[in-house]
């Protein structure tokens, strides 16, 4: 089979995407497929039309590759592709839309408010910050609305830190989210087709648990898979993740991030195209389920070509 591997592009997560792509290409070659690596640029459509691949493996992260843009093009060109469809990608990428969908499905997600820059620049939204902080409490989390990685995510511990956190988050996106901080275990559930894979837990290796930024520093967090969960907890977590995946309209695969608090799981977001590098969570979870990376890639391809998909 001729498989186009779409990778790179201009997003901030280009580096990770190139690593995901390279690893997928290796696996595809070992599986005996004809591999067409494409570092996505202005010639993408031309190349796809000329090369006519049987299927496209989308190994892109962030804006352009994970937000439905590339998926929309592939849908127009009639090329089957891996991972969720354009609409689901767009929904996952936009944390506000995602949280709306999660809430509509009756699933718990931390309280939040979303603002775009215009609200602050033109409508004096800053004057509403006090009220909003009262509702959310401290610490609170400030995130760019788009973007799958942790870039730009800040924790504000007091009202004085909120404007600075907003300035940072607005560096990545025109819209930002202020979200209630929920204390608990940080879990990620990857879903393949309709099957939840073993749960991954991120555990802070060292230091103050309120050193929030450390969570996003590679090397300061350890990932455990499968996470040590009681049977009841595990059921609750995987069910909530699967329900989120469905609420967002995901197909193929996705990774749902959540916090397991005292009262149960809180859904944070879903990544439509989770990383596929050596250290990424989806491959780790697949391996814990007994799937080698090749088997994972093959399964992802099968799902892309299955008639019900997309």
């Amino acid at each position: 089979m001729k498989v186009a591997v779409l990778k790179g592009g201009r997003s901030l997560e280009r580096g990770v995407s190139l690593r995901s792509g390279a690893r997928v290409e290796d696996a595809l070659e070992r599986l005996g497929h004809e591999v067409l690596p494409i570092d996505v640029g202005p010639d993408l459509v031309k190349r796809l039309v000329a090369e006519r691949p049987d299927v496209a493996f989308v190994a892109m992260h962030g804006v352009g590759g994970e937000d439905g843009t590339v998926q929309e093009l592939l849908e127009i060109l009639g090329i089957p592709f891996t991972g969720p469809g354009a609409a689901a990608c767009a929904r996952c990428m936009d944390k506000v839309q995602a949280k709306d969908a999660i809430e509509e499905a009756g699933l718990p997600t931390p309280d939040w408010f979303a603002f775009n820059q215009t609200a602050f620049r033109e409508f004096g939204a800053a004057d509403a910050l006090g009220r909003l902080e009262e509702t959310l409490g401290f610490p609170l989390v400030v995130k760019p609305s788009s973007g799958g990685s942790s870039l730009g995510v800040k924790f504000a511990r007091s009202p004085g830190e909120v404007p600075q956190a907003l300035v940072s988050a607005f560096s990545y996106d025109d819209r930002v989210l202020l979200e209630r901080f929920v204390d608990g275990r940080e879990l990620a559930v990857s879903i393949l087709g309709d099957e939840p894979l073993p749960v991954v837990e991120a555990i802070l290796l060292e230091g103050d648990r309120y050193d929030f930024e450390a969570r996003y520093e590679i090397g300061r967090t350890r990932f455990v898979c499968p996470a040590e969960l009681g049977a009841e907890e595990e059921r609750a977590v995987t069910e909530a993740a699967l329900a989120t995946y469905r609420a967002l309209g995901c197909t193929g695969f996705a990774r749902v991030d959540l916090i397991l608090g005292a009262e149960g799981p809180w859904l944070l977001e879903a990544n439509a195209i989770p990383g596929l590098t050596d250290t990424s969570l989806l491959p780790q979870a697949a391996e814990a389920a007994g799937l080698s990376f090749e088997q994972l890639v093959e399964r992802i391809l099968d799902l892309a070509l299955a008639p019900a998909t997309h």
Binding site: G15, D26, P163, A169, Y172, Y216, D278, P283
Partner: protein, 451 residues
């Protein structure tokens, strides 16, 4: 049929998570302090052709005439092919040392050739010094900010790095003295003080003569080694030449590091270290273990190049070129950076260090800047403790004047947007003047009273 089969895989098979787990048990403890970050991925984007990168630290090698390069290499091929392709002595060729003596002589230094070792770039010299002197937990003192490329070296030897603030006259020696006193009280003796005294990377500042004298005096009094890293000393565009610490000290307590990277070519990977004989003995053993000897081919190239007796003219050309570029960048900063920003005005070297209001995180700003197709180095990499997040390093040697102007304009624009946004968020259109003097030992560079 005796055909060799085509290799089936271009790349090594990637490892699985389980493999990683297996290797994890094998990693040395020092690897745990080697950290990667999302920032590194961001920097990958700066390589896009449409991005104006003020992030590099590159000399402009396009000014080196290709014809002379061809002639020199041809002479080597014709006259010394066998030797140039052979191993060489670990310490480096005597002829290379002669060239080094010329370069150091131009700054008033006259070391014993036996005290010199030729290294694979100045970076290896830093590594060898650490390898020779640093045990895990040992104290190494350096400037704040310090050369970002030295941080991973110190960390890989598990040094306890303590940074001493700089102002526009370089490292605050009064603070250093205080620190040394405190350390003595704890019974800890620093292994060395690392400094880039002239046109520092990244801050662009130069250690004043008075402070140089005091630093050398301190080293002597307390018998502490100073590692003087001087890659840019000859690239002075204004102001009076400053004696290197090595010259002031005479080489008893100063280990000197030099390089051909900024005055000739970084691609030839040729640097050197000068150290007192007992230290040198150990450095040579370390070098032997690391790579036996520095490239003989490039040592031959330097010998040929110096034989033409034009090396100083080439530096004069570089000085002309970089002076203009520095001036263009300073002018552009005045034009395009908001009033809240400060920056250093280097008398030489390759870098300007700009500091923004403390509500702007330069790591995040880089993401916004990259969308405007311009890049800089966020300041955090120049600190070991996470500081530096409001500063950035700007390079003016590797890009032409138009790109400098346009690059600075683009960065200025994204900063201005953030400043305005912050004003909107806090209800202040402009930052008020600070009510009191900021802490004397913090950036932005403000001349401090000597203690």
């Amino acid at each position: 049929m005796s055909e060799v089969p085509e290799p089936t895989h271009r790349r090594r098979a990637h490892t699985s998570g389980r493999d990683l787990e297996r290797y994890a048990g094998l990693f040395a403890e020092r690897t745990t302090v080697m950290r990667s970050s999302a920032m590194r991925d961001l920097m990958a984007i700066t390589a896009r052709p449409e991005v104006i990168s003020l992030a590099g630290g590159l000399p402009d090698t396009s000014t080196f005439p290709p014809q002379s390069f061809a002639a020199q290499m041809t002479r080597i091929a014709q006259e010394s092919a066998a030797k140039a392709l052979q191993y060489g002595p670990t310490e480096g060729f005597e002829e290379t040392k002669d060239c080094i003596l010329e370069v150091m002589g131009a700054e008033g230094m006259l070391p014993d050739p036996d005290d010199i070792i030729v290294t694979t770039g100045g970076q290896q010299a830093i590594d060898l010094v650490c390898k020779t002197l640093v045990d895990p937990g040992d104290v190494v003192i350096c400037e704040a900010p310090t050369y970002p490329g030295a941080v991973p070296v110190f960390c890989s030897y598990q040094a306890d790095v303590i940074q001493v603030e700089c102002d526009e006259d370089g490292m605050r020696i009064d603070l250093l003295e205080k620190l040394l006193g405190e350390l003595r009280g704890e019974g800890r003796r620093p292994k060395f003080i690392y400094s880039v005294p002239s046109f520092q990377n990244p801050a662009g500042v130069t250690l004043s003569l008075e402070r140089r004298r005091r630093l050398v005096e301190l080293a002597r009094e307390q018998e502490i080694l100073v590692v003087e890293d001087n890659p840019y000393g000859l690239l002075r565009y204004s102001g009076e030449p400053m004696p290197p610490l090595y010259q002031l000290d005479g080489g008893d307590f100063v280990i000197y590091l030099g390089t051909f990277s900024k005055i000739l070519s970084p691609g030839i990977r040729l640097g050197w270290a000068v150290a007192p004989p007992p230290v040198m003995e150990k450095i040579v053993l370390g070098k032997q273990a690391a790579d036996l000897c520095t490239s003989t081919l490039t040592q031959y190239f330097v010998r040929e190049y110096f034989a033409e007796r034009r090396w100083q003219h080439y530096i004069d050309d570089l000085v002309e070129l970089y002076r203009t570029r520095r001036d263009v960048m300073l002018e552009a900063l005045r034009t395009h950076f908001p009033a809240e920003a400060t920056w250093t005005e280097p008398e030489g070297g390759l870098f300007i260090w700009a500091t923004l209001p403390d509500y702007i995180d330069t790591n995040d700003l880089l993401a916004k800047a990259l969308r405007a197709d311009v890049a800089f180095v966020p300041g955090q990499g120049a600190y070991v403790d996470g500081r530096g997040t409001h500063s950035m390093r700007l390079n003016f040697s590797g890009v032409d004047e138009n790109e400098i102007r346009e690059g600075v304009r683009r960065i200025g624009k994204v900063i201005a947007e953030q400043v305005e946004l912050y004003g909107t968020l806090t209800g202040e259109q402009r930052l008020p003047e600070p009510a009191e003097e900021p802490e004397p030992n913090v950036l932005p560079f403000r001349k401090a009273e000597e203690a």
